[in-house]
């Protein structure tokens, strides 16, 4: 079942200038992006900084003004901010990148996790406490920590608090924006394992936004590669990693460090070849503004941004 459908999404930010502060131009943060996600799957949005992946996530979440396009969630059109009624909002939640700045330092854990519950459910004090403790247990923190403040926790534990808050209302879709990039390697692994566990347990759908292709490969079923606000390639994990078609994707894949020291010479050579190919064939893959072309299907699931033939 398709849970989220995004059609021709555009998010433009105005550039204002002059004494009348008129809009002189636009930054096309997201430029004509379409995708759909099946329930229970993990959809990866990959790109370098400034590629528009976070803006896409925030637009679905209802945190950005949408310039054009439609977003259909669970059969309902939620494009307009006003239409994101309570019912929709509780079903889409977000896990933020930085666990140090996304938790209010002056609130106790109890209040942080109970906030969504207080907004949407009328629970008595006792019930609320019980729910918060259940959630803490689910994310692997001790139920006694409800009276602590965020600074008393480590980065990984804070991220778990952020996750507990996101799953408090049993949402259908979670948008995870670089959920582990601020964490150490072994803590990263702990959080990723945990995200997969709760996905199975609660039947969650993830939009997983990341710049780390190794992690995306581990977590995602389908992957889209973004560049300057546009999709350059979209496909299943196997298609993107084993048969990348677009030069930009190839370049990204070639840049992943290999944890096999014996391959380093080979990798170095490979990267140089790809870099050369990138420079030589840049004009074949990008239009005169340096943007990707619109997507053309190469198989049922695999779309690549290639110019029209002829």
């Amino acid at each position: 079942m398709v849970i989220l459908e995004v059609n021709n999404l555009k998010v433009y930010f105005p550039i204002k200038a002059g004494i009348f502060n008129r809009t002189v131009n636009h930054i096309k943060a997201v430029d004509d992006v379409s995708f759909s996600i099946e329930q229970g799957k993990t959809y990866g949005l990959v790109g370098e900084s400034g590629s528009g992946k976070t803006t896409t996530g925030r637009a679905v979440m209802g945190l950005e003004n949408i310039t054009a396009g439609t977003i259909i969630f669970d059969g309902k059109d939620i494009t307009k901010k006003q239409s994101k009624t309570k019912d929709v909002r509780r079903n889409i939640q977000m896990i933020f990148q930085d666990p140090y700045s996304s938790l209010n330092p002056r609130k106790r854990v109890k209040d942080i996790i109970a906030e969504p519950l207080r907004n949407f459910e009328n629970l008595s004090k006792q019930e609320e406490k019980k729910r918060v403790q259940e959630l803490l247990e689910l994310v692997g923190l001790s139920p006694e920590s409800i009276l602590k403040y965020p600074h008393e926790f480590s980065g990984g534990q804070r991220q778990r608090i952020g996750i507990a808050r996101a799953i408090a209302l049993k949402p259908k879709l979670i948008i995870a924006d670089e959920p582990v990039s601020a964490l150490d390697v072994s803590v990263q692994a702990q959080v990723l394992n945990f995200m997969r566990d709760i996905q199975k347990e609660l039947g969650l759908t993830y939009i997983f936004i990341s710049h780390d292709l190794g992690i995306v490969k581990h977590m995602c079923d389908d992957i889209a590669i973004m560049y300057k606000g546009r999709y350059v390639e979209q496909g299943t994990k196997e298609e993107i990693f084993n048969y990348p078609q677009h030069i930009y994707t190839k370049r990204l894949v070639s840049a992943i460090p290999d944890t096999e020291p014996g391959n380093r010479e080979k990798r170095f050579k490979f990267r140089q070849d790809i870099q050369k190919e990138f420079e030589e064939s840049y004009d074949d893959y990008f239009d005169s503004d340096g943007l990707a072309y619109s997507l053309k299907p190469v198989s049922d699931t695999h779309l690549v941004a290639l110019p029209e033939k002829g």
Partner: protein, 339 residues
């Protein structure tokens, strides 16, 4: 022929918290040869940056014990003036965050010139400018004459990191310390910067200490690797041995926490590096992370054992270590940790 460039003997760097000194680097001994890349791996709090700063003499209030022999000369507790002679000339550092390491109010050219003015006062203005342009070209910056007059905010992250590298290599240092040089960058930039550091190392024959938490970076770059945990080296070996035959539980956990092909669940030891004040100072520092091992598995006073030539492992617990049953691990240790 290998020549010793740097030899660290029983280095201990302690910081004062309240009325007590706590050792962030505890009894570290290392050697670095010329034209060698030594990777130092560890997570936040493992003491890897504290070690780098100790070598560079950048800790102003820390207590340092032990010896750091640079070209045979002890540089622990030498005067700041003598240190300034070395820093930026014979040894240099590439910092992690390219935005904060550059002065936002100075043109790029002037920032690179600074180190030349200090260490090569005999250069004329013209020579200096030529050298800066040459450096900018060496690190792969397009249109160097133009960038010379730009400010840091006008450059992208990858370009800024190249400028930092240009400053570091300006005087062809014998020792280059790179502290997480690519952490703040995108992956394609990361690959380019690493290739650049490798190339410069080969050209200049410098010894490089590469500090990182990213095992992929180590696998691509290092000749030898030291793994640090809680201020100590827990394992040191050449890069091939370390990746093929890791011994210490912490090293093994680090290696399996990176996603690899066809792996459903990441094997990882739960928990984090304890903070400076809460470090267990006696016995094996890793013991509390692996409580399912019997205490007899650990040594009373763990030391580095040479198990093969050049492969050192601390403590004896590696002989008995196994990953705990995954399902049980998540539950039991998730709970105990947060208390």
């Amino acid at each position: 022929m290998t020549q010793k460039l740097l030899e660290i003997k029983n280095l201990k760097t302690s910081f004062r918290i309240g009325d007590e000194y706590y050792a962030a680097v505890d009894d570290v001994s290392l050697t670095l040869n010329k034209n060698e890349v030594l990777g130092i791996v560890g997570e936040s709090g493992s003491g890897k940056s504290a070690l780098a700063f100790s070598i560079m003499g950048l800790h102003t209030r820390a207590k340092m014990e032990g010896n750091i022999l640079f070209n045979g000369k002890d540089i622990v507790n030498i005067s700041p003036a003598q240190l300034n002679q070395l820093r930026g000339d014979e040894m240099a550092m590439i910092f992690q965050d390219p935005l904060t390491a550059l002065n936002p109010l100075m043109e790029i050219g002037a920032q690179i010139s600074e180190t030349l003015i200090l260490h090569r006062p005999e250069m004329s203005q013209k020579e200096r400018k030529d050298r800066v342009i040459e450096l900018l070209t060496m690190v792969g910056i397009p249109r160097p004459e133009y960038v010379y007059e730009q400010f840091p905010h006008e450059l992208s992250g990858g370009m800024r990191q190249r400028v930092i590298i240009a400053i570091a290599i300006a005087n062809r240092p014998e020792l280059l310390i790179a502290d997480e040089p690519t952490t703040a960058l995108d992956v394609t930039n990361q690959a380019q910067i690493l290739d650049l550091i490798r190339k410069l190392k080969n050209d200049m024959g410098s010894g490089v200490i590469l500090i990182t938490h990213d095992l992929g970076v180590v696998a691509e770059m290092a000749d030898r690797v030291a793994v640090m945990y809680a201020g100590q080296i827990v394992e040191i070996a050449d890069v091939f041995t370390l990746f093929e035959n890791p011994k210490h539980p912490y090293t093994r956990s680090l290696l399996t926490s990176v996603p690899a092909e066809g792996q459903d669940k990441l094997l990882v030891i739960q928990g984090i590096v304890p903070s400076l004040q809460h470090l267990p100072r006696e016995g094996c520092r890793f013991a509390e992370r692996i409580p399912w091992l019997d205490s007899s598995a650990h040594e009373e006073d763990p030391v580095l054992h040479e198990i093969e030539p050049g492969h050192f492992v601390r403590c004896t617990c590696y002989k008995h270590f196994h990953f705990q049953d995954e399902a049980k691990e998540a539950q039991v240790h998730g709970d105990t940790r947060s208390k």
